[in-house]
């Protein structure tokens, strides 16, 4: 007779603790942003105007919707609707890809205009605008990396669900991947107004 040890609450709690370290990681960047903003308020407003607000807004809507689909996927697996769970996971991944494609076009346009870390064009615009864009590329880049990781994670869990390794009785992996995905959304909720919307 074998008694399997499992503690779903414990593993969720572990995930939450990990997510708090992620929050502190991004907070460091947001605090740097706040410091630089108090030093260069006018330059930050000017630099913010150079960002494309449409890309930012569309990506916000894409991420919020993907957060909805993965939250629905957790409900679906709890109710034993495996097919729906899989569909919702794939939709979430598709939205993650849409987000990254948007990011690709957005960054290509900006780099095409000579705006990238270390560019001469940026150096001519002075330290305030340079600081803004360096922070923008670093924070949004780190966030983009999280989108990539989160999407991959959900893909792996979706395959495991299809194989029957994640079930309506045992779905902590899906729950924890969903938690990670919501964190990606949370970071963007702050990143978007701070970088795209300041006047």
């Amino acid at each position: 007779m074998s008694i399997e040890h499992r503690d779903d609450t414990g593993s969720r709690f572990g995930m939450w603790l990990f997510l708090y370290t992620e929050v502190i990681l991004f907070s460091g960047l947001f605090i740097l942003y706040a410091m630089a903003l108090t030093k260069y308020p006018t330059q930050f407003a000017k630099a913010s105007h150079m960002l494309n607000i449409y890309f930012g807004t569309i990506n916000t809507l894409v991420l919020l919707t993907s957060s909805l689909t993965i939250a629905l996927a957790v409900s679906a697996i709890q109710m034993g609707r495996i097919k729906q769970t899989l569909t919702l996971c794939w939709v979430t991944i598709a939205l993650a890809i849409v987000f990254l494609i948007n990011k690709y076009f957005e960054w290509s346009a900006e780099i095409g205009h000579g705006i990238y870390p270390g560019s001469e064009h940026l150096a001519e615009m002075g330290p305030g605008i340079t600081t803004f864009f360096n922070l923008y590329y670093f924070t949004a880049g780190l966030h983009g990396l999280h989108v990539l990781i989160g999407g991959t994670l959900i893909g792996v869990v979706a395959v495991m669900t299809a194989k029957g390794q994640v079930t309506s009785d045992r779905y902590t992996l899906l729950e924890n991947s969903a938690l990670y995905w919501h964190l990606v959304d949370l970071v963007w909720i702050f990143l978007f107004p701070l970088y795209y919307l300041i006047l």
Partner: protein, 94 residues
């Protein structure tokens, strides 16, 4: 139902939260186009905080979790506030 698992949240709840998040996004974009001076950034942060509470409590199921989870969130936020507060005290009064 084992005590380790939650009751499934109905789809309707999640869709309503999602609609609220979209409305708040539109509000934050609209307000940012009006010049309010330094108030702009506080409004943006306020709306972002409301949005993140919705995500944390509903999408991330914090509402259904035990007290321990909620206390830990509070501790994390206090640490964050100290982190931000100390940095500003240093930079602003140099």
């Amino acid at each position: 139902m084992s005590e380790h698992q939650h009751e499934p949240v109905p789809y309707r709840t999640f869709i309503l939260i999602w609609a609220a998040l979209l409305v708040l996004t539109v509000i934050t974009v609209a307000i940012s186009r009006v010049h309010l001076g330094p108030l702009n950034i506080w409004v943006a942060l306020g709306v972002a905080s409301i949005k993140s509470s919705l995500v944390i409590f509903f999408f991330m199921h914090l509402r259904q979790e035990s007290k321990l989870f909620k206390i830990c969130l509070l501790i994390m936020l206090v640490i964050l506030a100290i982190f931000i507060g100390m940095t500003f005290l240093d930079v602003l009064y140099r």
